[in-house]
C-alpha cells in the first residue's frame, strides 16, 4: 500500500515536471497587465532556469487544490531580491502573478512575499500606487 502510494506520487511528480518542460512557451498566454495575489502553502518549489516552478496548495471559494505556476528565471529572481532558502516546502506564501488569459488556475510569478515578511520581485503598478498614496497621506 505504501509502495503504491509512493509510485502514484512519483508518477504525479513526473507528470508535473514533464508537463512543465512541455510547457516551454512564450509569455503570450499571460496577462502581464495584471498582478493578482494568490496565497497558499508551498508544495513544491524549484528555483531553476529558464523559469522557476512552484506548486502551492490554495484554498478559496473554488475549494482546495494544488495550482502550478511558473515564473522568472533563478537569475532574474536573484536580481529581484530572491535568496536561497526564502521559499521552502510547507511555507505559507503569497505570490503575485500575471494570470492566464483564459482564466484557468495558474500564472506567471513575478513577485512573492513569505510568511516572515520577506519579498522579492518588483512591485506591481497597483502596489506602487498604493504605496505612493500612503506616502502622500491619502
Amino acid at each position: 500500500m505504501k509502495k503504491t502510494g509512493l509510485v502514484a506520487l512519483t508518477a504525479t511528480l513526473i507528470a508535473l515536471w514533464a508537463g512543465a518542460v512541455a510547457a516551454h512557451h512564450s509569455a503570450q498566454q499571460f496577462d502581464f497587465g495584471r498582478s493578482v495575489p494568490i496565497s497558499g502553502v508551498v508544495k513544491r518549489f524549484q528555483s531553476i532556469n529558464p523559469h522557476m516552478r512552484l506548486v502551492i496548495t490554495v484554498t478559496d471559494a473554488k475549494g482546495t487544490r494544488d495550482i502550478s505556476f511558473e515564473g522568472h528565471s533563478t537569475n532574474n529572481m536573484y536580481r529581484a531580491g530572491y535568496r536561497d532558502g526564502m521559499i521552502k516546502v510547507g511555507d505559507k506564501i503569497t505570490v503575485y502573478v500575471a494570470p492566464l488569459r483564459d482564466g484557468s488556475d495558474g500564472g506567471y510569478v513575478t513577485a512573492a512575499s513569505t510568511a516572515d515578511g520577506r519579498r522579492f520581485g518588483p512591485q506591481s503598478r497597483a502596489e506602487q500606487e498604493a504605496e505612493r498614496a500612503k506616502a502622500e497621506g491619502k
Binding site: 509569455a27 503570450q28 531553476i48
Partner: protein
C-alpha cells in the same frame, strides 16, 4: 651656407628611431593607448527619460518582425516555415535551454548582463543567459579557416582600427529561429567603441552589419548600447536541471 651632410640626416633619423624604440621598450610610449579596455560587466544602457534600453534599432528593417527585414524569397520562406511550425506553442530556443546565437546573443544581452575579458590576442565575451560564450581572436590567435567549427555564435576574429574594435563573425549555422534569421553564408561585422553616457559613465556601443546573400537582399544593420556595471558579477546560468531531474525520476521508476 653650411649644408648639413646627407649622412648626418640619416644618422639623426636613426638616432631618433633608436630613441623611440627605447622609449617604447621602456613603456614611456604606449602604442596601444588609443585602444580602450572593454573589460567589465555590462548591462542595457537606458537613455535618460526613456524607458527602453538603447539599441537594436535597425536600418534595413526596423524593430518589427522578420517580414520587415529585406529578405530574399528563400529567407522569407524558411522563416515562415519555422514560424508556422511553432505557431501556437510559443516555443523558443531559450525555453529549451539553447542559446540565441549571433547576432541575437549580442543584441539581446544586457537584461542578463554581459562580461568582457580583454587580452591583447583574445577578447572573451560571456552572455549570462544560457552561458553563451564568444571568443574573439586577434593576431596569431586567429584560427585558420579550415580548422573552424561552425556554430550558432560562429567564429569571431578581431582587429583594431584606432579606438574601434572590429569583429568579424563567420562560420555560422543557418538559423531561422531568431529575429535576425540568417543562413550559413552570413557574415556579421561589429564595430565596438567606447563613449560616455549622460552622466559621464562609460557606455559601450556596437554597430552591427549583417550581410547574407542567401537570406537578405541588402545588409541589415543594428546598434546596441551597454552601460557598465561597476564591480558587476555574472551569475551562473544552469538550465538543464529540470530535464536531468525528469530523466532521473524516469530511471528511478524503471528500477522499481
Amino acid at each position: 651656407m653650411h649644408e648639413r651632410p646627407r649622412h648626418s640626416r640619416w644618422a639623426g633619423a636613426a638616432q631618433y628611431s633608436g630613441a623611440l624604440a627605447l622609449f617604447v621598450a621602456l613603456g614611456f610610449v604606449n602604442v596601444k593607448a588609443q585602444q580602450p579596455d572593454f573589460t567589465g560587466v555590462w548591462t542595457n544602457y537606458v537613455e535618460p527619460g526613456q524607458g527602453r534600453a538603447g539599441g537594436a534599432a535597425t536600418a534595413g528593417g526596423g524593430r518589427g518582425g522578420a517580414a520587415e527585414l529585406p529578405m530574399t524569397a528563400e529567407g522569407r520562406q524558411k522563416v515562415q516555415a519555422y514560424q508556422a511550425l511553432i505557431k501556437g506553442t510559443g516555443d523558443t530556443p531559450g525555453g529549451f535551454c539553447l542559446g540565441t546565437g549571433m547576432p541575437g546573443s549580442m543584441l539581446g544581452s544586457g537584461g542578463y548582463p554581459m562580461e568582457i575579458i580583454q587580452r591583447p590576442n583574445q577578447i572573451t565575451i560571456v552572455y549570462e543567459a544560457h552561458n553563451e560564450v564568444r571568443r574573439v581572436y586577434l593576431g596569431d590567435r586567429i584560427v585558420p579557416e579550415g580548422d573552424r567549427l561552425p556554430g550558432r555564435n560562429g567564429h569571431s576574429t578581431g582587429r583594431w582600427e584606432g579606438d574601434t574594435l572590429v569583429v568579424e563573425t563567420t562560420n555560422l549555422v543557418e538559423q531561422a529561429d531568431q529575429r535576425f534569421a540568417h543562413s550559413d553564408k552570413a557574415r556579421i561585422v561589429e564595430r565596438y567603441r567606447m563613449t560616455r553616457g549622460a552622466k559621464g559613465e562609460r557606455v559601450l556601443v556596437a554597430e552591427m552589419t549583417l550581410t547574407d546573400p542567401v537570406f537578405y537582399t541588402k545588409p541589415v544593420t543594428a546598434e546596441k548600447r551597454w552601460a557598465e556595471v561597476p564591480n558587476g558579477h555574472l551569475l551562473p546560468y544552469e538550465c538543464n536541471e529540470e530535464a536531468w531531474n525528469i530523466h532521473l525520476e524516469k530511471l528511478a521508476e524503471k528500477r522499481k
